[in-house]
Amino acid sequence: MYRYILKRLLMLIPVLLGVAFLIFAIMDVAAGDPVYSVAGADATPEQIEALREKMGLNGSLIERYIRYIGNLLKGDLGTSYISKLDVMKVYLQRLPNTLKLATLTMIVAVGMAIPLGITAAVHQNSIRDTTSMVLALIGLSMPNFWLGLLLILFFSLKLGWFPTGGSEGFRSIVLPAITVGTSLAALLTRTTRSSMLDVLRQDYLRTARAKGVSERNVIQKHALRNALIPIITIFGVQFSNVLGGSVLAETVFAWPGVGRLVVDAIDQRDIPTVTGALVMTTMLVTIVNLLVDLVYAFVDPRIKAQYTK
């Protein structure tokens, strides 16, 4: 097991190097030399060159990349072109906000999706099933930023229940969490349902029923644990997405999370911030995925057996 974890953590290294290179390459192609947007209009060529050196933009893509990796290994993500602040510090400033939003979103989504999905599957083709599936489909089809706008329109402007943005207090997190959580809840409901339907057809449930296990326990004990596996997969994938920043919701609600940090930095051609934030996010995503895989093993002994092999 530990060897498996270690192996996974080692596999993280090439991925992080790859992410850093990818971002470097993309930002290198990007229109607009960052030097000229940082330097003022009156900059002389000498000043430009000096600035270029100071910003670490001299040299070829590969040279810069190697330099960056060297610093990265020392835990140094560089300093922002714009604010001159340490990227790591800025990232860590934003991370709690994103984690807060992500966690609440996931809790709400899971809390809604699993009971709904189970009910839908158990009462397949009933009114309850149809209703929750139609709702899930709508939730899945709604662009989340639009939902955010509608929520603002209704709950902030018309009813005045929640603030339209900002990050103070619990009330300000409610609407962003709903915005991000809706499509997630929809997705999870659908996954739970189909996974549950799959499991409900399995013979071992018949065995359980034949044993005299009550219907409630058949569902909650025997079926759910098996159905959880695909749900956990989706959960893992989506957690990364929420974690990486529900950029749109963060923009709509002025939520100072990691996603907005990256978008703003891309706008400003602030390469160290873009790269640093994405590398850190990738690391988090990978670690979350590893955790998800460990949860798998906990739920499914067959997978555990694979890991220990």
């Binding site: 399995q202 013979d203 071992y204 065995t207 029923r209 034949a210």
Partner: protein, 336 residues
């Protein structure tokens, strides 16, 4: 039927009908069968795939999925207890306690995420209200009973072979010492050598616990080995029933004859196999007359007009075939 016999009755079914209402139409899986079974006896329920054997067993357990399954029955009693009118929570006390079932495929019959010990212990916890520690202990006993070392109770199904899994399934079914055991093709999924072992084990345990059993199978050899009585099913109906002797040696129904004829003959290896021609009728669209008529070698116009009813040929032996209106009629198969 004498009083004594009536008290002895473990299972009494009258006019059981099961249909599945699906999008493709109504599948009539079981079309009015009567079954009785006395204590310590074993009934072989024989027929090809799709004849309605498994559905019958599920109906007895009241486990026919609804929707789409709809069960209709005039009488369904286990040891004199009316199962038909029991509410779901009472049924849970009957299942696994009074009646158990062994399912066809041991590969899928066990829950992959629980240890086998837990799965055996579960029914003990439910029905005998044992503490989880005692139940574990008893589960170990049960494992040993079916020939598996008790240490393996903490292992998961994927760590067991097919035959071992089937033993676990048997252990689960017998854990609470049921009066009636429904075994749905318990050996089909297993290797031949394992099949014999499992059958022997079941025979042994049945004797030991005085359990009555319905053995569902299409394997006539298996029937010969375990059963006292035989009922042959075709398209949701019983076409012939009687003692093992009756059905094997005094075969009456053309379908039963067909079943025997399609077995390879060890004594005459040159003899050509004679499979029953054609396929089972579409259960959504059963013919008006005898369901077997389209495949029957002895078919007459009368067969196509009305459904034949079971008629008694001897005290124990009954058959549903219009041809026997003619007292001269006999089938080709001769028992040597």
């Amino acid at each position: 039927m004498t009083n004594q016999e009536a008290n002895d009755l473990i299972l009494d079914i009258k006019n059981l009908k099961v249909r599945y209402e699906t999008q493709d139409g109504i599948v009539r899986a079981v079309n009015g069968i009567d079954l009785t079974l006395r204590k310590k006896r074993t009934l072989g329920l024989v027929g090809e795939t799709g004849a309605g054997k498994t559905t019958t067993a599920l109906a007895i357990m009241r486990l026919v999925p609804d929707p789409p399954g709809i069960v209709e029955c005039d009488k369904l009693e286990i040891s004199g207890q009316d199962i038909l009118s029991l509410p779901e929570n009472k049924l849970e006390h009957v299942r696994g306690n009074d009646i158990s079932m062994i399912f066809q495929d041991p590969m899928t019959a066990l829950n992959p995420v629980f240890t086998v010990g837990d799965q055996i212990a579960e029914s003990l916890e439910i029905h005998e209200h044992l503490s989880s520690k005692d139940a574990k202990e008893r589960a170990g006993d049960m494992l040993e009973l079916v020939g598996i070392p008790r240490e393996r109770a903490n292992e998961y199904p994927h760590q067991f072979s097919g035959g071992m899994k089937q033993r676990v399934v048997i252990a689960i079914a017998l854990a609470c010492n049921p009066q009636l055991l429904l075994a749905d093709e318990p050996t089909t999924a297993l290797d031949v050598t394992i099949q014999a072992q499992v059958l022997e084990l079941m025979n042994e345990l049945k004797e030991k616990y005085d359990t009555s059993m319905i053995m569902i199978t299409h394997d006539l050899g298996c029937v010969a080995e375990v059963c006292d009585e035989v009922a042959v099913m075709y398209a949701g109906r019983i076409v012939e029933e009687g003692t093992l002797e009756d059905v094997f040696n005094r075969t009456l129904h053309p379908y039963t004859e067909g079943l025997f004829n399609s077995l390879p003959n060890i004594k005459d290896r040159k003899a050509k196999l004679k499979p029953i021609k054609g396929l089972m009728p579409d259960p959504t669209n059963l013919p008006v007359g005898c369901s077997f008529a389209p495949r029957c070698n002895y078919v007459s116009d009368a067969c196509l007009k009305a459904q034949p009813q079971l008629r008694s040929i001897s005290q124990t032996h009954r058959v549903a075939c219009t041809a026997y209106d003619n007292p001269e009629f006999h089938i080709e198969r001769r028992i040597l």
